[in-house]
Symmetry: C2
Subunit: 303 residues, 2 copies
């Protein structure tokens, strides 16, 4: 009998070929099939806690999203290994971060109203969360001859940064930044990290972009700060959850110095669809062949 892989939807051709040595099923298969599958490859928000309980042979959960925060992590037994899809969205999300940042700097969003543009060249960029996306954001900043500061638990490409700091130093260094890009996963440590006290330490005319997770920023603190600091601007691709679901409504839209896109930076439509599936499928195959795989998540960061 071949190993079974359960997926929260259909698998595009290129990724399906990578999994051709296994039996691939979609969620909704019979209880016997679900109970026999050793791998769940999933869009986290589509996984209900009940499904995990039925997967009695489960050994691996492979996220199709970059993050795993939307998985029902508390329902996953200790014996199951959980893997993120970090790196699968690096290029489009880093481009997106720069689109939001230059959009803020140049007033691209405020059509029919003339704004004074900010020049970024030569200024200081703070990257908070120096994983794959943060590193790519930093690299683009270097090509604009910006000074790059990083705040992160670990640095994927430490050579990109003019200065590197531990997250505990965030409040001490944020004030030196002209632009801040948040590219953090949502964990116990990063939830509500950007609160009023942190924002208040920013310079008067800072530009802040968020391409990580909405909940790393305290919504009401952000709104208070944007009202108090009309020269500061915030643009985001990620929003806050209501009842477990990310919704794009927020009172922040009423502020002239708030802008954003509706979580489309790495949206798996069209051209960006293939890469996340292929990378996830490669990781699943590696796990099943070798017992090891990339991007293993430490559940202690989340629970």
């Amino acid at each position: 009998m071949r190993t079974g892989v359960l997926v929260t939807g259909s698998v595009p051709g290129e990724a399906a070929a990578i999994l051709s040595g296994y039996d691939v099923y979609e969620v909704g298969a019979s209880e016997d099939v679900v109970g026999s599958c050793e791998v769940l490859m999933a869009w986290p928000s589509r996984v209900e806690a009940g499904l995990i309980g039925k997967m009695t042979s489960l050994r691996m959960v492979q996220s199709l999203s970059a993050g795993v925060d939307a998985l029902p992590l508390a329902a996953i037994p200790d014996t199951v290994e959980v893997f993120s899809n970090a790196g699968a969205y690096t290029e489009p999300v880093a481009e997106h971060a720069w689109g939001l940042l230059l959009g803020l700097a140049k007033g691209v969003q405020t059509r029919k109203q003339r704004t004074i543009p900010r020049k970024l060249r030569g200024r200081t960029l703070l990257v908070v969360g120096a994983g794959e996306i943060g590193s790519e954001v930093a690299m683009l900043g270097k090509s604009l001859q910006m000074r790059i500061i990083g705040v992160s638990r670990s640095f994927k490409k430490p050579e990109l940064y003019d200065a590197r700091h531990h997250p505990s130093d965030l409040k001490n260094v944020i004030g030196s930044a002209d632009a801040v890009v948040l590219s953090l996963p949502l964990t116990k440590q990063t939830r509500d990290l950007i609160d009023y006290d942190t924002l208040a330490r920013c310079g008067q005319n800072v530009l802040v972009v968020n391409v990580g997770r909405g909940e790393t920023v305290v919504e009401e603190d952000l709104i208070r700060w944007l009202k108090e600091r009309p020269g500061s601007r915030y643009a985001t691709d990620v929003f806050w959850k209501r009842e477990g679901k990310e919704v794009f409504d927020t009172l922040a839209w009423e502020l002239p110095n708030f802008g954003g896109t509706l979580h489309n930076s790495g949206v798996p439509l069209g051209e960006t669809l293939t890469v996340p599936f292929v990378r996830a499928a490669q990781n699943v195959r590696r796990f099943l062949e070798t017992g090891e795989a990339a991007n293993r998540v430490d559940l202690a960061d989340y629970l």
Copy 2:
């Protein structure tokens, strides 16, 4: 008696220091003073043809703007040399071009409406007008690993381009571009260069940005093309003149695939004010000391 320099407004300190060996006057000075000045350092749109007639000692006109197209060029005698301020706005305008291009690619302008983003990395960027701004735009494109094509009469940094073409080849090469940045001065040759026939040769999903001059694109042809090609997008910082004055009203704003900023890319406010004045003042001083200066304009390109 010291050489006189007439200016269309006050000169900021750093630039005034460069001109300290000359008598600097503002437009509105007495007829005697105006008649004695050998240099006019000017915002082109503030120069009336009548002023030129009164400047009987005039030898040099130095534009404070990048372009000279708004000067009353027909009123300037052959004996007077005219200089643009090319290069004075390179960094902010190139950043701006990238803000508009990434804005188009990522849907930054369409707040509260989800769009499918376009990835730029690995795609083909066509730079039309490969002067200082175009070269800087190309350089940023290279850092996104784009393939760079240039169409220009001359190339400031030819090594940046994977392929270089003469303007007569524009219609043959524009179809291979995923993104087009127009950074052209407005001359006899470039006016109405981007007409319907040229636009129709673009790919179905092209992104076009204009940071040169509005009139290099035929307004009604652009509107027709944007209506016919909903997958194509156009963002501009430069608009069309009505009765000699650039105005930001155009029917194009009603189209969902048109966007822009109101000619603020190099707007001489705040941080970008100093550089254009300093560069213009340096060029004036060089001319008065040596008889030569940078960025001399061939009036045959305009008249």
